[in-house]
């Protein structure tokens, strides 16, 4: 079973088309293993991307060095997944 410990979801705000293109460039770097939840499209639309722990530093350095604004939407994906599992197991116990 794959876990997502330390994975974060970043919400990126590209200021212009050039920055959108810069973020699009990240998609091609397969070793980063980025999972775009919302694709880079145009500056008005925020971009959401799940970043594995091993790529976090590289991605954040890239964004900051290019003055691309971002925030952390989900601090730790696995903690949300764990909450889901807990909620489901409580539910099944209640039914029993």
């Amino acid at each position: 079973t794959e876990t997502f410990v330390g994975h974060q979801v970043l919400r990126i705000f590209a200021a212009d088309e050039f920055q959108v293109e810069q973020v699009k460039g990240l998609e091609d770097l397969e070793h980063l293993q980025l999972d775009f939840w919302r694709e880079p499209i145009h500056p008005e639309a925020s971009i959401d991307v799940r970043v594995p722990f091993h790529s976090l530093q590289a991605v954040k350095v890239f964004l900051e060095s290019n003055s691309i604004r971002y925030g952390i939407m989900i601090e730790d994906v696995q903690s949300l997944v764990d909450e889901e599992k807990l909620s489901m197991s409580h539910n099944s116990r209640a039914r029993s």
């Binding site: 794959e2 499209i41 889901e84 489901m88 539910n91 209640a94």
Partner: protein, 306 residues
């Protein structure tokens, strides 16, 4: 059915049990049909809500084609319950069901959904093997025969938006295609995704306007207003290509080109904090508000025969 917890996420077995139970407990209103099998051999089940008659016009609703968007499958279960409870109580839904059948496919991508529960919570695609690649799966919302293969999908099997080798290559897509064609009288088709808070209509693969753009736009406007009236959730609406991005091979582009005028796709709520990993506490509010938008589309379909 009374013990089913609509406010919790459920795995495939539980949802399929729910479908079976619903058909068993309300046979006068609900039946289940199997429209095909998934790549890994799971049944593809659809609930049919009908008050009788043959070859009635129909409304199609599907949820969860992108397996990891669990709030959509959970909303689908809520819609099933809502239809059952509203018939005979809510005059509007009653009149819809007295004139139309409603088909509801709660788990549109059963292999992917099972995979999200067992191996990889982030799985989005189908589970078909791709010849010549180690990467698995096809984006079932790029696999339809509407601008298949043009810009707005990927030819790389490792991409999350891989279109597949050819249109309808995925049995999960082909099953719906065959069903829609053989039915021949579907008047509205609503495909429900998550997230981004959007209500979209054709087209996605081309910038040409749908012939019914003005009407679809007006319906979408009314639907998002109704949706927002419950919890204040704000949606944008418009054609796929102008509102989000170019996406080829999409579901509702194909249904529209098949002559199903009222073709829409929802992207459900996003609080800005969770994406599609919505806490279970948000299932009911999400489903409740979406139901209001759905009702507007179904009422418009009922009142504007074509």
């Amino acid at each position: 059915i009374a013990t089913f917890n609509y406010a919790s996420y459920h795995n495939l077995d539980e949802i399929y049990d729910f479908i079976d139970l619903l058909a068993a407990e309300k046979p006068e209103l609900v039946s289940k049909i199997q429209i095909g099998e998934s790549y890994e051999g799971r049944p593809i089940k659809v609930l049919k809500f009908s008050t009788g008659g043959t070859n009635r016009p129909a409304i199609w609703i599907d949820t969860g084609i992108h397996s990891r968007e669990w709030v959509t499958q959970a909303s689908g279960a809520y819609f099933a319950k809502k239809i059952i409870d509203s018939y005979g109580q809510d005059p509007s839904l009653t009149s819809i069901l007295d004139n139309f059948d409603i088909f509801l496919e709660i788990v549109t991508n059963p292999d992917g959904f099972a995979f999200t529960h067992s191996k990889n919570r982030m799985w989005r695609k189908t589970r078909s093997k791709n010849s010549g690649s180690l990467c698995i799966g096809v984006d079932p919302n790029r696999n339809w025969d509407a601008g298949f293969g043009v810009a707005g999908s990927s030819g790389n099997p490792c991409s999350e938006t891989y279109r597949g080798p050819y249109a309808n290559s995925e049995p999960e897509v082909k099953a719906i295609v065959d069903f829609v064609k053989s039915h021949g009288n579907i008047k509205a088709f609503v495909s429900i995704h998550s997230y981004s808070q959007l209500l979209l209509y054709p087209f996605g693969y081309t910038s040409k306007k749908a012939a019914d753009q003005a009407e679809l736009d007006a319906v979408a406007k009314s639907a998002v207003e109704a949706l927002a009236s419950l919890h204040g959730t704000k949606y944008k609406y418009g054609s796929i290509i102008t509102t989000i991005y170019q996406a080829s091979g999409g579901t509702i582009d194909w249904t529209y080109e098949q002559g199903i005028k009222y073709s829409f796709t929802f992207e459900l709520r996003d609080t800005g904090r969770y994406g599609f990993l919505l806490p279970a506490s948000q299932i009911i509010p999400t489903a409740e508000e979406t139901w209001l938008g759905l009702m507007v589309i179904m009422e418009h379909t009922r009142d504007h025969p074509y």
